[in-house]
Symmetry: C2
Subunit: 568 residues, 2 copies
Amino acid sequence: MSQHVVVIGGVALGPKTACRFKRLEPGAKVTMLDQSDVISYGGCGIPYYVSGDVSDAEELCTTSFHMVRDVPFFDEIKGVDVMTRTRAESIDRAAKKVQYTNLATGEKGELSYDKLVIATGATPRRMNLPGEDLPGVHYVSTPHDAERIRQSISKGQIGKAVIIGAGFIGLEMAEALTDMWGVETTVIEIFDQIMPRLVSPTLATMGRKHMEEQGVVFRMGESVKAIEGDGKVQRVVTDKGVLEADCVIVSVGVVPCDDVAREAGIECHERGGILVDDHMRTNDPDVYSGGDCAIIRNHITGQPLFLPLGSMANRQGRVIGNNLADGDSRFPAAVGSFVVKLFETSLAGTGLSLEAAEQAGFDAFSVMLVQLDRAHFYPTKELMNLELVVERGTRRVLGIQGFGSSGDAMVGRINTVAAALHFDATIDDISNLELAYSPPFASAMDILNTVANMADNVLREINRGVGPEEFEKFWAAREDGEYCFIDCREAGDAKPYMERNPEHWHNVPQGEIYKRLDEIPEDKTCVLVCNTGARSYEAQIMLTHKGRKNVVNIHGGMASLKKYGIEL
Amino acid sequence: MSQHVVVIGGVALGPKTACRFKRLEPGAKVTMLDQSDVISYGGCGIPYYVSGDVSDAEELCTTSFHMVRDVPFFDEIKGVDVMTRTRAESIDRAAKKVQYTNLATGEKGELSYDKLVIATGATPRRMNLPGEDLPGVHYVSTPHDAERIRQSISKGQIGKAVIIGAGFIGLEMAEALTDMWGVETTVIEIFDQIMPRLVSPTLATMGRKHMEEQGVVFRMGESVKAIEGDGKVQRVVTDKGVLEADCVIVSVGVVPCDDVAREAGIECHERGGILVDDHMRTNDPDVYSGGDCAIIRNHITGQPLFLPLGSMANRQGRVIGNNLADGDSRFPAAVGSFVVKLFETSLAGTGLSLEAAEQAGFDAFSVMLVQLDRAHFYPTKELMNLELVVERGTRRVLGIQGFGSSGDAMVGRINTVAAALHFDATIDDISNLELAYSPPFASAMDILNTVANMADNVLREINRGVGPEEFEKFWAAREDGEYCFIDCREAGDAKPYMERNPEHWHNVPQGEIYKRLDEIPEDKTCVLVCNTGARSYEAQIMLTHKGRKNVVNIHGGMASLKKYGIEL
């Protein structure tokens, strides 16, 4: 048992570790220090405070039973001594001491420890651009940031906002500003998609289109060069133009705070972050770390992973708490599950996107499925898009990402695959996954089973399809005569499209393929489309059976094309 | 490749097998026979048709793109020959022939097969009681049953209904009759809980209480002796009384239809059902079976399992289709996931309940957790109840069951554990499960992580708690002076309870335990209660640290007591 545990950092991992350890060792002494005056807050809640969903900033710092997690709370309820506005300056590992400065008084002091926990977190990445420190330029990190942004909005000072970065926080802030405050909001992203590398360009486009429909403006593939203004922010200058702005929110990621650790000789990653083993121990057996300042391992790739999420910090904090009390708890490698709500839809995923899988050296492919999230005869149901990423050869599932409007239902599917990823599941495992079935909650063959079956069919080469991105290219070339577009639905469904595109849109219902084979040209690439891809797949099988080779079916069908923004 | 595949049975597994096989072998011949005139229907949708949620019975027999799955559909769209109203009478395995009777004409005939699939399904279990065949007594199995029930209700002929059996179908029908038609509905169950063996008595009571609040009457532990009436049903006689009834629905389970198989020497289970291996093959290598007539294996116990669910049939059908086309697909042992919607709540689970685990010989225990399903500061959130069943020693998770009002959110958690069960997960795996986190969808420490942590704390013996059932016993004995009830919440929360129970309800907020130790008697069993069990657990740790031994905390706290129906 550790006599005195010192915890540097009091936001997420720090408090979790301290409290867990105290529950196991109620007689031990724990001292937690943090340079801020607010501790133990839910930083992930900031966009919801800015939007007004959370009415009082204090709620981000309370327990589920409405007690504020402040210094007296930790003292009386948790038995943890807390020193706020106290910055850890250095660690003397030989003497097992932490030197600190009281930021209020300037006083210096030191704390002896038996075990040390470094929970210094991360700090918003700065862009190092002119004007970055002008009033009205905000980062989204602490409750103080949240207060500042909400105050300026609620005073009606913000007509136009520019958000730099289309990751989680940027998108959540864009929703908050647009939805609740009617601020004209533009998101600038240096990559050509939102949530780069996390989801495919196709899913990203679907998410972006939905946000555009709600009034958010996106400028993709655009790079910010300067922020300008006279005494306060007035405009953002990019490589493509100038945007007026009363408010700029910079959300271009975070960097781990590892200075104190690094200077004390704690091993860090070359690109930042404290290295830990699966017990969350650093290279010094008396020093633990975790949360946003630590580097863990990616279960899928085996490579180092920086995954700054409050959920990670909480789970890791418990592991450290156990190990401080002479336990043998492990935090296994992570798979990287995520979800972001975008107005009435959400994007979610776990494991690797196709791009990330290819970058990691996997021989991977992905399939995109559109299917109803519950029984088709049940009155309330929604189409869900799931993209499964699979390694050829091993049939191992590397990841899954999704876009849809029924959030809990989609997140449930993503979490189910997350659990399976930890056990290196193959598509055959997912094909037979036993999801709880009842018409109000799932189809008899759930979308998760089907997306794995689809991957199997692609590997068998009986389903050869492409997504909306490729369809867009085919359609753009429709005058060239290389492609023949065949709608495999019944005549009534196809009719409006045939009327609008009389020369290019043809209709052969799937059930009539054999009878009307001579209507389908042999010298063109035959592009088969139906509602969601089920019938175009069957039509492809029939044509292949009749010896046709140049046949491709559109995965996700018309539903997918529509969400992607293609109008026919 | 199989030249001619004959499929006996055309509801779920049969059509799935036939269509999958045809997609792999478009040139093969498949003949499917069924004794009914309706085939390929979603029997699980019947309660939703009776309720009116599904407006037209035809919807239960259509594809997701609104085509009716009838004989011409299978012929033209799927390339499968279907013979309806055709009963398979016997199988000559030596000659590889099926003898059948056309029920419309009485004509007999036979079909030669290369491979045979027996998909004869299950039939409602009969009670063998007087009056069981009176008009107005219904089973819930086919679309014809559904039509009959809905017609009699919609004509206003039904004022009072009695449902026999509180399993899935009984409960769904109770909701349908009460919610949409205002029929006075009584459910009689021979066991003393709804969904016996599937969920714990505690969860079952929560589900029942909710249904009672919606007007459904339950008579538990009651046995039906006769159904009586003059020309049509008028009353139900039980061992405890007589109930008037214009309509009786019998839903006491189903029995597998294995007669034809058994008579042909196909190996069956002694209690019914065709035995298959993990390729869904019977003891005859040319004969496959699956769905409601087959017996599979329970992954958790290794024992035979009868799991008649449409979702099972669909997944197994695909496996058989693959294997008919010379594939090597497996259907692994099942974990038994389920969900049933009960008005605004649902009960769901996977794996074994505590009772089922104990009956299977496991040294098991369970923990029940009540926690919010998303961040506590997010405006829309609900308390969810999850009960995790764990094997001592190995720490293996044997099952999980839940009750809650946000259906998709709960089903998502159940499915996540279902995936983990297939890989023999331990509580340590669940503790670190990486659920996608964002305040609108989860807590940073998700309820699934917490319920595993709770099991760990119980095994460490630092959390010693009981549920509402035991609390009820303690409370009933409150005059005996053996128990001291301590509310660990803040004074304001405890006040109304202290006012109503001045002699028995005490208040020591968790943070004041050490200061007010002398108020807590040493000679009584100290029963600690808070909102959901988080603070009573911490209070227990504090009291234990001070040497107190007789301390028990109420898992799920006041939230759980309330849902269980205990009024204080």
